[in-house]
Symmetry: C2
Subunit: 373 residues, 2 copies
């Protein structure tokens, strides 16, 4: 964010969906060995919106999954949610990715990471259970087919806990500290549990081994690296394939901060908030606009740093052409921030209202899936 | 062992059962806060042989258990075995302690620490299962009443695993390192699992909370300190009482080494070895004897450093008076090592043969308890 926008905007004119990716994410390719997604895009018959737009920008071993999709071979998708509250735009992205892969034929695993919620966020299991019911209703309302999915809580899935115990022997303290820093035992334990989640689809009891795609935010890469390392170490015993991953960008905070965060209520909204509150947050969002209308008409806005533009791209404008038009109109000084916000608010509220209507119908089903009274 | 025996032997003449305890274990009282058992002995109606003889020399919060025994109040006993092989004199001690407390009215828990065997000794679960069947047959043959005991494997007891997950949050890495040194994740995880074992009897599902005595070798004190710390931290949630412990001395190696060890086959025997082999190992044992018979007749032997005397005291001579006579006869130069060994071999083989006969009858019962084909 600290670079002069002019330099960046020129480069980005070439790609309305590139936005902040090019400079900020480049080092992930170099330093961490994440591969760019773009070269694989032409081979994907029906790419997900976030893939087309560079929101999903990188991967590890995704080619294996592309091959499965091309040849109609068996593969699995696993991702999940930490049940610490209502659905927000981060969990929405992951949920949509899972649903996308389910629709492409993947055996689907959706994990409620309640052990992580406990270890990392101090949320007792009784409380995370309540969130989990809502979270599952959300993902069902978004289109996940529960008949073809295994939806589970870490705390109730003994295979996952037993895998964590088995993997523990192969993980040194130095590895844990290198990946997660100096944390308490519970956090490390929950990291092992997540490795258990990621490799669960590959157990024989679950029809494995098989290629598995784990679509996540790029901040989850440490879990993936650890999982891939452990998959190798236990390959002989279980026949594990290295799990594949796609990485989406982390959506900016509405207040211009680099990440939506519960600590700043104005930086994000949940799908459960009052429509007026959501509208109000977007109205008050930081933008890439200029200090005066005159200046904006002359120089154009900077969509690359604009969270309102970003939520269009990530979630709320389905037509790629419309997004491109917004981008160019903004840069040309034709679209002012007020107008843009008004339009985005309309899209968001339309989605939220429709979603809630569906969601209500799935609450009982969610309870049934979790076996909760 | 490096002190001049003469100085020590004088001091110990006062107490034939004191043996090496006084100097070697003194620092445990001072530095680690372990309390001496002796002051509590008069309050114990029917003290176990190893208590009377100072083999069980120290404790934490054992007074609470003594009170339960005095007032006929509910308490539990928990200890266990790491299924890494056949019963030896160390596991025999713990088993007898458990049986003693069961006979004093304790709710009895016997844990097969197969997760620890896996994490610490790399023994796969399929293999430790076989050892576990034998180990349980042993403890049943020794007199444990299975109808009044909960015998379980860590790997199959979800309460224990779930407790480890819950406790993880309250344990810093610094604590783990201070107690166990720099180890791999699995070892730390198995330490949390052991805390789960120790507090299991206090769960409501198991009739808790209640005072619990954990009779162990003094080398297990780190687990106890961690468990007591965690019991405090989760007192509000579970109502835990700090678990109590008694500590027995670690039996010396037959070869004179400070500890029986699998790495030195001549240092120990299992209850499963051929009688000739056992006899041979005792025949070849290190003793407290003098270089020549003449010298021994003049100066007397040194029972305090003698493993043959020690196995009498720990296990194989039931009559306190007989042990005291052996001690004094040895010190007076009346009992020579050859004669003593011969007598001890007779006791040991008599016990071993009788035990095996009983043990055979319990193999099926052990399989049934473990639910193993």
């Amino acid at each position: 964010m600290s670079e002069p926008p002019s330099e960046r905007s020129e480069e980005l004119l070439l790609d309305p969906f590139g936005t902040t990716i090019i400079k900020d994410y480049e080092k992930l390719y170099k330093e961490f060995g994440i591969e760019p997604l773009k070269p694989l895009l032409p081979r994907i018959k029906n790419p997900f919106m976030a893939m087309r737009r560079g929101v999903i920008f990188g991967h590890r071993d995704f080619e294996k999954i592309v091959e499965c999709m091309e040849k109609n071979e068996k593969f699995a998708v696993l991702s999940g949610i930490k049940p610490t509250g209502e659905f927000h735009l981060g969990t929405l992205m992951t949920a949509r990715e899972i649903i996308y892969f389910q629709q492409q034929g993947a055996d689907t695993f959706y994990c409620i990471a309640d052990i992580e919620a406990y270890e990392d966020n101090r949320i007792p299991f009784e409380k995370s259970e309540k969130y989990a019911v809502g979270n599952i209703a959300d993902v069902l309302a978004l289109g996940l087919d529960p008949k073809k999915a295994y939806i589970y809580r870490q705390s109730k899935e003994n295979h996952v806990k037993d895998l964590a115990i088995i993997f523990g022997r192969a993980v040194t303290l130095a590895t844990m500290k290198a990946i997660y820093g100096e944390r308490h035992m519970g956090l490390y334990l929950s990291a092992l549990i997540q490795v258990g989640d990621i490799l669960l689809p590959q157990l024989r009891d679950f029809g494995g081994p098989k290629p598995t795609i784990v679509p996540v935010g790029v901040d989850q890469d440490p879990h993936l690296r650890l999982s891939r390392d452990i998959a190798q170490k236990f390959r002989r015993k279980y026949g594990f394939e290295s799990p594949s991953a796609t990485y989406h960008k982390i959506i900016k905070g509405l207040d211009g901060s680099p990440k939506m965060s519960k600590r700043s209520p104005m930086s994000y909204f949940t799908l459960d908030e009052k429509p007026e509150t959501i509208a109000n947050k977007i109205s008050n969002a930081f933008t890439g606009g200029r200090p005066t209308i005159k200046e904006q008409r002359e120089k154009g806005g900077i969509p690359e740093i604009c969270p309102v533009y970003e939520i269009d791209v990530f979630h709320f404008v389905e037509d790629d052409k419309e997004v491109a038009k917004t981008y160019h109109d903004c840069k040309a000084g034709k679209l002012l921030c007020g107008e843009h916000k008004k339009r985005t608010i309309e899209y968001v509220l339309k989605f939220v209202k429709g979603h809630r209507k569906k969601r209500r119908k799935y609450i009982d089903k969610a309870r049934e899936i979790l076996n909760v009274e």
